[in-house]
């Protein structure tokens, strides 16, 4: 068996005395689409932030293609081929849509911190950014400030920025949060299209999206993974049903 794209072992995170992530072991294979679901407050976003070094783990390790990510900064992790989106839309609102995507291409095209190249002279950059815009159906909005786009368009742009750098492990944090049905379908198709052949890890609440996209699902409850498996297996798991039913009952009271 080849090395997994992402491997978490014994991952723990505490804030003060509160243990938010209580030891997570998870292995996600190459080109797998993996969804992480769970009730609110289960620690899904915290888990994302641990993987991408936004937070330091209290214990345990994160391995990307078998390489330990401990001590690396977010930008170093990104250079190793892991890219993420955020739960709250995180783009460059003052820049044009085109520039948002172009910024995302700079590092992967090897421009680094150079000040001897002019970005608008590079055909490769312009065409690369336009190709991404075409993929996310935002060519028509190319020269608008990103902040003026509709919510769904901003989410699509964020996915575009996330995939633009050519990372092979893509992490999406609730890509369809707050969207209407038609918007959700649009984003789901988009995710399907742009993550072709890549490893996808996503946190998602919408079960339609999860069951439509994911090859495997992990259920996170109170900082622990209580089940991992194919969608139909997870759906039938009594513990998962209990966790969700329990949460639903709590919400009613």
């Amino acid at each position: 068996m080849s090395t997994p794209a992402l491997e978490l072992s014994g991952l723990k995170k505490s804030f003060g005395k509160a243990e938010i992530i209580r030891g997570i072991n998870l292995s996600i294979g190459k080109s797998e689409r993996h969804a992480i679901i769970g009730p609110n407050g289960a620690g899904k976003s915290t888990l994302f932030n641990l993987i991408t070094a936004r937070f330091m783990p209290t214990a345990g390790s994160v391995k990307l293609h078998g390489e330990d990510l401990r001590g690396l900064q977010p930008y170093q992790i990104n250079r190793k081929g892991l890219s993420r989106s955020f739960q709250i839309t995180n783009i460059f609102p003052a820049m044009t849509v085109f520039e948002n995507v172009r910024c995302a291409l700079l590092w992967s095209q090897g421009y680094k911190y150079s000040f001897w190249n002019l970005v608008n002279r590079s055909r490769q950059l312009t065409e690369g950014a336009d190709a991404i815009l075409d993929q996310i159906n935002l060519l028509g909005r190319r020269d608008l400030p990103a902040g003026t786009l509709s919510y769904a368009e901003q989410r699509a742009l964020e996915i575009g920025i996330t995939i633009a750098g050519g990372a092979d492990v893509i992490m999406l944090d609730e890509p369809t949060a707050g969207m209407s049905h038609s918007e959700t379908d649009y984003i789901t198709d988009l995710i399907m299209k742009v993550t072709e052949g890549k490893t996808l890890i996503m946190v998602e609440h919408d079960m339609g999206v999860v069951f439509g996209l994911a090859d495997r699902i992990s259920v996170l409850v109170y900082g622990e993974i209580i089940a991992t498996g194919k969608p139909e297996d997870v759906r039938g798991d009594p513990r998962v049903q209990e966790a969700y039913l329990g949460a639903a009952l709590e919400a009613e009271h």
Binding site: T52, R54, Q73, P74, Y75, N78, R79, S83, R84, F86, N90, I91, F92, P93, A94, M95, F98, E99, R102, C103, A104, L106, W107, S108, Y111, K112, Y113, S114, F115, W116, N117, L118, V119, N120, R123, T126, E127, D130, L139, G140, R141, R142, D143, L144, I161, G165
Partner: protein, 431 residues
């Protein structure tokens, strides 16, 4: 509305390339021609001095805006980099053997290198964060180095500063820069070169990422760029161009003092840049020109010029956060819609009375100042080409009435202007 702004999706790349060269080169050619012709219009030596000061401020303000506008870093101590560049150039001027070995126009490069060197040292720790931390460190370092001017006398020359003589350089095509006009063209050459380089910088990968880091450092980090290093490179480049401005200052004035380093100078450049507008590349250029005019021309007319400059600054910050450049650029959509003509009449109806009213207020301020500060028995003052006795009631009544009526009319007509503005910004109504 949005349809108007959307571009043709079929071939955006071609559209961008076509005509972009001539469009971007045009302002530079016009600026260069204007710089060459200026001395033929304004021939006096004092005008040349004012223009030299203006172009130096332009370079410094543009360098400052690399931090503030493009990098989102608010510095309270940027005069230090210009000052140290200037002091370094002055020392080179005084090393007669070295100075005689190269022509004078090369000298500002040394200023740039010293400014850059200092920026590298300070930037190594100050650019870790933007925001308040960066601002406080810049203030502290600025104060520290300004205080050094009286401690390290060998370099900064203590309270009287250090001076030199630019004419000892190797003659440049047999020119020794004895005349003010020679220095003018040297400064003009550098202002075009430095502005062009700074503009090109904003078009490079690191320049683009400076904007990205300013808007959203976290997102930039997840695109493979270290926000800290992007800030560092912006800071170092800004230090370089500030040092160039300092070198030109040394050439122009042949003396540098503690004043070139201190917090007041740092404050002025912040004010200049903000006045012009941080959001556009050309903003600081406008700011530098307007401020230098206020500082030089207005200061000949009134002792209270700093009061007016300050009021202008406060008004800009409060009402036009985009600065003068933002105010200009606000009108671009109106012109694009072809509605500019609709605005002429409302502008005259509101702005003319407002201007008269403000002049009335200025008259009151000047009269109060004269009343309080003129020596005893000096009751006569001349204001707007009229001489009158300050201790009579009539001038006060006239000034007060002009102020009240002018501002009153402006206030009454303001809603009309707003309506016209909204109409001019709406597509379709005009046709």
């Amino acid at each position: 509305m949005s349809d108007q702004l959307t571009t043709d999706p079929s071939k955006p790349a071609q559209r961008m390339r076509a005509g972009s060269m001539t469009l971007t080169l045009m302002p530079w050619i016009i600026a260069a021609i204007a710089l060459i012709l200026m001395p033929f219009i304004f021939t006096s030596n004092s005008a040349l001095t004012i223009m030299n000061q203006m172009w130096i401020t332009v370079i410094f303000a543009l360098a400052y805006n690399m931090l503030l506008g493009q990098g989102g870093m608010l510095s309270f101590g940027h005069a230090v980099y210009a000052g140290v560049g200037g002091f370094a150039c002055m020392h080179i001027m005084n090393m007669s053997d070295l100075f005689a070995s190269f022509p004078l126009p090369v000298l500002p490069i040394f200023g740039g290198l010293f400014g850059m060197g200092l920026a590298m040292i300070v930037g190594a720790f100050s650019t870790r964060n933007a925001g308040t931390v960066f601002a406080m460190i810049s203030l502290g370092v600025g104060e520290l180095i300004a205080a050094c001017s009286v401690i390290i006398v060998a370099f900064f020359g203590g309270e009287e500063g250090i001076s030199g003589d630019r004419t000892y350089a190797m003659p440049f095509f047999s020119n020794e820069f004895l005349q003010q006009i020679d220095v003018y063209y040297l400064t003009s050459f550098w202002v075009i070169l430095a502005a062009a380089l700074m503009y090109l910088w904003s078009r490079t990968p690191v320049g683009r990422m400076a904007n990205a880091v300013r808007d959203n450092p976290e997102r930039a980090e997840f695109l493979g760029y270290s926000a800290r290093w992007v800030r560092f490179y912006s800071f170092v480049a800004s230090g370089f161009f500030a040092g160039i401005a300092g070198g030109l200052f040394a050439i122009n004035y042949e003396i540098l003092t503690e004043e070139n380093l201190n917090t007041a100078s740092s404050g002025v450049i912040l004010l200049v840049t903000f006045l012009g507008g941080v959001g556009f590349f050309f903003g600081p250029i406008i700011g530098a020109i307007v401020f230098t005019l206020v500082q030089t021309v207005l200061s000949l007319q009134t002792e209270l010029w700093a009061f007016y400059a300050g009021s202008l600054f406060v008004a800009t910050v409060m009402f036009f956060p985009g600065g003068l450049a933002g105010l200009l650029m606000m009108h671009v959509p109106v012109f694009k819609l072809g509605n500019a003509k609709q605005l002429i009449q409302p502008y005259i109806k509101t702005l003319l009375p407002a201007a008269i009213g403000i002049l009335g207020v200025c008259a009151l301020v000047e009269m109060t100042f004269h009343f309080r500060h003129a020596s005893i028995g000096d009751d006569e003052m001349t204001l707007f080409w009229t001489t009158f006795d300050i201790h009579t009631l009539l001038p006060w009544l006239i000034a007060g009435a002009v102020a009240l009526i002018g501002i009153g009319i402006a206030k009454r007509n303001a809603p009309e202007l707003k309506e016209a503005w909204d109409a001019a910004n709406t597509a379709g109504d005009a046709s």
